[in-house]
Amino acid sequence: MLVNKKKMAALIDSNAEQGQVKGRSQWQDAMRRFKGNKASLISVFVLAAMTLFAFLGPLLSPWDHETIDWELIGNAAEMGAPQFANGHFFGTDDLGRDMYSRVLQGTQISLMVGFVGTLVAVTVGVLYGAIAGYFGGAVDNVMMRFVDILMSIPYMFILIILFVMFGRSVYILFIGLGLFSWMDMARIVRGQTLTLKHKEFIEAAVMAGVSDFKIIVRHIVPNLLGIVVVYMSLMIPSLILLESFISFLGLGIQEPLTSWGALISDGASTIQYGTLWQLAFPLGFFVTGLFCFFFIGDGLRDAFDPKDR
């Protein structure tokens, strides 16, 4: 369908003159479009509820994530099924630990991995990409070739080596993920900056005597936010997936702490004994969480870039 955007804008312009339209920024516009998207809005609520539940839920249970219920140990298949009577709402794992507490604890870790890793990636990536793109020339060349070199290193090996060298801990996981995930961001931001920096308002800022650093912070980065937010919402689930994969391999989070990936891995290995709940609960959380993230990402993309639909 052929839509003449300029024409439409001019049309709305001329109509706007006839009646007062309330002032609003592009950001507010995008948020309103986002709110109009049912699937994403529901996802936001589900995700918020899940996060809240992950942190408050453990208070409801008599068990914590590491205490072993000695009555059930080794007997999970017969007696470890979910029930209210003994307080194991989601049942127990093979060692007799409470699945409810473990799933919630795993949710905490997985969400944290997603958010913290993304935060690191976005901060580093946006600044790095914006600087490379804005200055261009040799600076750009050196900075982006460095990214290319880093990208050509198989990150999985490095992660595994890190875990082996420094032991398995949450911090190593954060560092390892943060170390590699900013590069895509930097590339995307650089590309966007390249198109932005030839816009006339940047030239106007140069003529207004604004320093390079201020131009990046005040004019370039705010105009990148749309795409950054969208990419962020897709990056969180991909980091969660990555962490799950590492944990599934048996690396990553150190016992007794756990995560979605680790729980699914455990649950999958005992599925042959008929302990379905050990897989079903973490998997349910995992799938729901990822679905929500992807829906939100979709909604954000439509909200910030309505013309490409």
């Binding site: 369908m1 308002f201 106007a204």
Partner: protein
């Protein structure tokens, strides 16, 4: 006459509305009109008046959130009630459309021939050979040289004017009885525009095709149309024969449209009188002196391991001086280097050679910090009002930005300055927290001017500052610029492709051609007595909003396309006699024709017209 002939296209009480977030927006509010065979009907109106939506609806190209009510009848088909399949049989064959931008309306990855074949295979039953012959014939008819070779080229290999001619050839391929032209020449240079308009006029007379011409340019209307409809905010405010509307306009809006159109043939428009007088005895050498400035870009030619790098001479040795309080108009067609020249004066693009002296001191070669101090006096207003403002900043913040670097005022004092400047440029104070996308083009351009003026500069460069605006708004902005000039003793470099506008504002005018000065003279001199054939050609091509004068005027056509600036002989287009005698790379010299009137070497116009 009109009662006997049955109109081929008629619209009855058409209403178009769009569902937007701000509620239903009515773009077209009940218009009715008809077009007879072989007639050219013009729809004129400013941007946002809904003039093209009428025809978008007829072609079934309305945006998804649009709804059309009423009736559009074309050759007995009720277009609004047709299904897409039925509509496909009508549109393209009997009714076709040319759009404003010839680059975006051709598919980039198909050759011209493939695109034309597509049209003919849908609507005509011809063999491949016949089709190809027909296509070549049509390219000849729209006067594209070497049509056989052009057919196998891709759109990006053709110039803008040629692309538009290809579009016309494509839409004429099936001999439609109605051709809808939506701003067909707005994106083109004046000389090309003149050729395209002539071509359309010829097609109308030869094949009897009816034309619906949508444009904002009264000059084009005067030249082309038999009947006119003046549209404003979705309604026709006036309709009638072209002559009646031009010589005896009834509605205030029509009068305003005709009045605010700058005319190349009459310099004494009312607001022209307050052009600031300048002291011509003073030399501009100690104000702004641009000496033999060159800007060359390296262009990679060819592929392989070691591609050649050739310099693209965007600006190739331009010298001029500017006095305090003077306006120098810089005109030229697209690609002549006028914007590059402006940016190199401001050191936004450092010149490759030559010098720019500001108040007696050179600007080029300065360090960043030193340059920053000078920039307080040098400001620029850009062409696209929307693109020149940061979309995420309120307009008050945008205007305040230069103050933050150049003044030591407190924030509240700065705010006060901003509000004063907003008053000065005619912006309402309560708009200060608005964002650029919420304002109209004219308002945004006022913001751009306010931002440039807030540091009280001595020189402002207007880079096509009024070209993107509607004529009525254009007149207001020009007025504002001239008032500001008087108030602040401002010097202006006024860059534009529109010769009529430049004439209104400038004391002196410089004509650029492929990065070199072709003619430099006082404004009256240049228009009364243009010496260089290129200048004559440019002036003759500008349409005049007066049907009688316009139809008698004859555009000068110098044979040949605008050569590529990479072509070493390009500079000699107006001096072909030197092509044989001199060695390669000869550049025409700028000679003083009469005091203050400089003209580049050239051959006589007759000689040029007589070539091939």
């Amino acid at each position: 006459m009109t009662e006997i002939i049955k109109p081929i296209f008629s619209v009855d009480d058409l209403r178009i509305s769009f569902a937007t977030h701000d509620g239903e927006v009515e773009a077209v509010k009940g218009v009715s009109f008809s077009i007879n065979p072989g007639e050219c009907v013009g729809i004129v109106g400013e941007s946002g008046s809904g003039k093209s939506q009428t025809f978008m609806a007829a072609m079934g190209l309305l945006a998804k959130n649009g709804r059309a009510k009423g009736d559009i009848i074309f050759q007995g088909h009720h277009l609004l009630s047709l299904s897409t399949a039925e509509l496909n049989r009508v549109r393209g064959k009997n009714m076709s459309m040319i759009f404003q931008d010839p680059l975006t309306s051709l598919t980039p990855h198909l050759t011209i021939l493939e695109q034309m074949r597509e049209v003919s295979s849908l609507h005509m039953d011809l063999s491949r050979e016949e089709t190809d012959r027909l296509c070549a014939q049509w390219l000849d008819r729209v006067r594209i040289a070497e049509s056989k070779r052009r057919l196998n080229q891709y759109p990006h290999e053709l110039s803008g004017g040629m692309r538009q001619r290809v579009m016309i050839a494509m839409s004429m391929l099936c001999q439609p009885s109605l051709l809808i032209a939506d701003e067909p020449t707005t994106a083109l240079d004046v000389t090309v525009q003149a050729e395209i308009l002539d071509l359309m006029d010829e097609l109308k007379r030869e094949s009897g095709t009816a034309i619906a011409l949508i444009t904002h340019d009264m000059g084009v209307m005067a030249r082309m149309c038999d009947r006119l409809h003046v549209m404003r905010r979705g309604e026709y405010v006036e309709e009638g024969l072209t002559e009646d509307i031009f010589y005896n306009p009834q509605h205030d809006y029509t009068k305003m449209l005709i009045d605010s159109m700058p005319r190349i043939d009459s310099p004494d428009r009312q607001h022209n009188k307050n052009q600031m007088p300048i002291d011509e005895s003073v030399s501009g050498a100690d104000f702004l002196k641009v000496d033999d400035v060159k800007v060359h870009f390296d262009v990679t030619v060819g592929g392989g391991l070691w591609p050649k790098k050739l310099p693209l001479k965007a600006v190739d040795g331009v010298s001029f001086e500017l006095r305090k309080g003077e306006t120098l108009g810089i005109v030229g067609e697209s690609g002549c280097g006028k914007s590059t020249l402006a940016r190199s004066v401001l050191q936004l693009i450092p010149p490759s050679a030559g010098s720019v002296c500001w108040l007696g001191k050179p600007l080029n070669g300065l360090k960043k910090e030193e340059l920053k101090d000078k920039r307080k006096d040098l400001q620029i207003v850009f062409q696209d009002p929307l693109a020149s403002l940061d979309p995420r900043m309120t307009i008050a913040d945008s205007i305040m930005e230069p103050l933050q670097t150049f003044s030591s005022l407190s924030r509240s004092e700065m705010k006060e300055e901003v509000l004063k400047m907003m008053d000065r440029v005619g912006l309402d104070r309560n708009m200060q927290n608005r964002y650029p996308h919420e304002l109209s083009g004219g308002q945004n351009q006022r913001v751009g001017i306010a931002r440039a003026m807030i540091v009280k500069p001595k020189l402002v460069i207007c880079d096509e500052a009024v070209s993107a605006l509607d004529v009525s708004v254009q007149a207001q902005i020009i007025q504002l610029l001239m008032d500001l000039q008087q108030e602040f003793q401002l010097s202006i470099l006024f860059i534009s492709h529109d010769l009529a506008v430049v004439r209104e504002v400038s004391h002196r005018i410089m004509v650029l051609y492929l990065g070199r000065v072709i003619e430099l003279a006082k404004s009256e001199d240049l228009y009364a007595n243009p010496v260089h054939p290129y200048t004559q050609q440019l002036i003759s091509a500008v349409p005049v909003p007066d049907p009688k004068i316009e139809r008698e005027r004859k555009a000068i056509k110098i044979p040949g396309e605008l050569p590529s600036p990479m072509n070493p002989d390009a500079q000699l287009k107006f001096l072909p006699s030197k092509l044989k005698t001199e060695k390669k790379g000869y550049l025409p010299k700028l000679l003083e024709h009469s005091p203050g009137h400089f003209v580049a070497e050239h051959d006589a116009l007759d000689q040029l017209l007589a070539q091939d």
